[in-house]
Assembly symmetry: C2
Homo-oligomer: 294 residues x 2
Amino acid sequence: MSSRILSSLQARYESLKVTVSNDAKSPQAAKFLIELTDMSLKFLEKTSVRVPLISLVPNKSYFSFSLKSGKQKTARAINEALFDFKVRDRLNHILNNSLVTLPQEERKKLLYTTAMAFCCAIDLLKKGDQKTPATYFECLIEHLLSRTFGINPRSEVEVLRLEEEASTLPTDLIFDLGPGKSKFHVPIKISTRERVIQVFAHQKVLDGVHGIGTFTGMLVCLTETKLDHTKNEVVEICLPKQWILYQRFIAPIHRFYYFDLPKKYALLKTSTPPMQVLSFSEFFDEAQSLTVPK
Amino acid sequence: MSSRILSSLQARYESLKVTVSNDAKSPQAAKFLIELTDMSLKFLEKTSVRVPLISLVPNKSYFSFSLKSGKQKTARAINEALFDFKVRDRLNHILNNSLVTLPQEERKKLLYTTAMAFCCAIDLLKKGDQKTPATYFECLIEHLLSRTFGINPRSEVEVLRLEEEASTLPTDLIFDLGPGKSKFHVPIKISTRERVIQVFAHQKVLDGVHGIGTFTGMLVCLTETKLDHTKNEVVEICLPKQWILYQRFIAPIHRFYYFDLPKKYALLKTSTPPMQVLSFSEFFDEAQSLTVPK
């Protein structure tokens, strides 16, 4: 059973990667994302049980999936309030590009469950595979953003025209909406930890090469939770004071979006300078206003 | 035999860590470094054989150690020209702080062998332990620099005095030589790969908070080699064009030192802006001139 479901998931996952790389905004990409989520939810429902976790995050409860069969393995931590098997009935909102029609709470659940289900299935079916969940998450964001902006991204920026040969800077995604419109620099991370400084540093290079204001930085993250598998404890690793330093002294990032928004980062909206750290579900409401540089 | 040598090495390694954290510049730290190197070289000589590697790095030959006993495991790649069992006779140059009296080629071998021997022993004796070699390398650099500068470092910088409570920025090492003298910001890495951008970004924060020129950035690296254990091939991963971008648009680093200096980075001395990427053995000749800000 496990090996059959793993190979079906992997086949769809490979198709998703190819489709996103060819045409990220295509409805076909949405179809693969929905299929993977649907298959993963079915698999989790049938073959696994919920393991309660000790949450050291105030006001958030977490659990993890574990296979019913003998194996002791547990998947990643899941925010109880944001994961819902019932989103299977609403997955078509991704295909129809109609997430904006869902109320915020519904939308959050749909997005979080779509991001998490496949990752949890892979956690249970493969040992120590961090890359597949990370790539899946990138594909999800790449599809949702390109669908919303109506344009596919690229993953490098031309820099250093001064020399004979042009150099390029490899980046996460770049969405260039054309003359007079925004250009977005979109790093995507499952979680940031100490690696967040890279995001600010890349923005700084873009600001330096192309001028401040040319690229709008927009970080998209899944969560900052960390699960201690021996103690079954969940913590959120947040470094808000370092974020303030980076925002002040490296380069400002315009938006930070989270699927599971850490309170400590949400509070940065009143820091100096203020930083906009929001739930990713809010992106869909403000996307149009972001397409015009302020 | 293997478990006995491993526990002796680990006991000395733990003592080294404690000693360096209490008084990095102490002769006792040198004694532990020498003992660990001596024990590791004996272990390698007795129990392992040299496995030739396919070097894809022009003009450099690499080999690796592998245990004579059945186990297939190989350690990290070693630059043949820089590793020498005979340095055991010259290890006292570390204790006497007299590296500067050795000719460059001798000094390079002594430093490289001292950095590598223990790391290779750990590669062979422990599975997947990256942290012990990295920490050992940090202890080695911390001792050599603090001994040379005659002062112990600290590992954070006070920043953000504007708020009520002072924040600190965790950094690699900071050597503050006092009024009118240099303050060094010293990141230490076994190899940099895509993580080098952190070095420039930290420097940028220090420049922003304390003013440009307050901290002199000095990166110390072991090597940029990567060994493919299935193909037995060694490559050097260098991204010189990205380094130029980071040096130009994030923050300039004053010195980059390598134990196994990559040609592509050495050539950056003629780039725009010029970057000083040198063999770490050269540090000891210029250390005194670096202590006065230019």
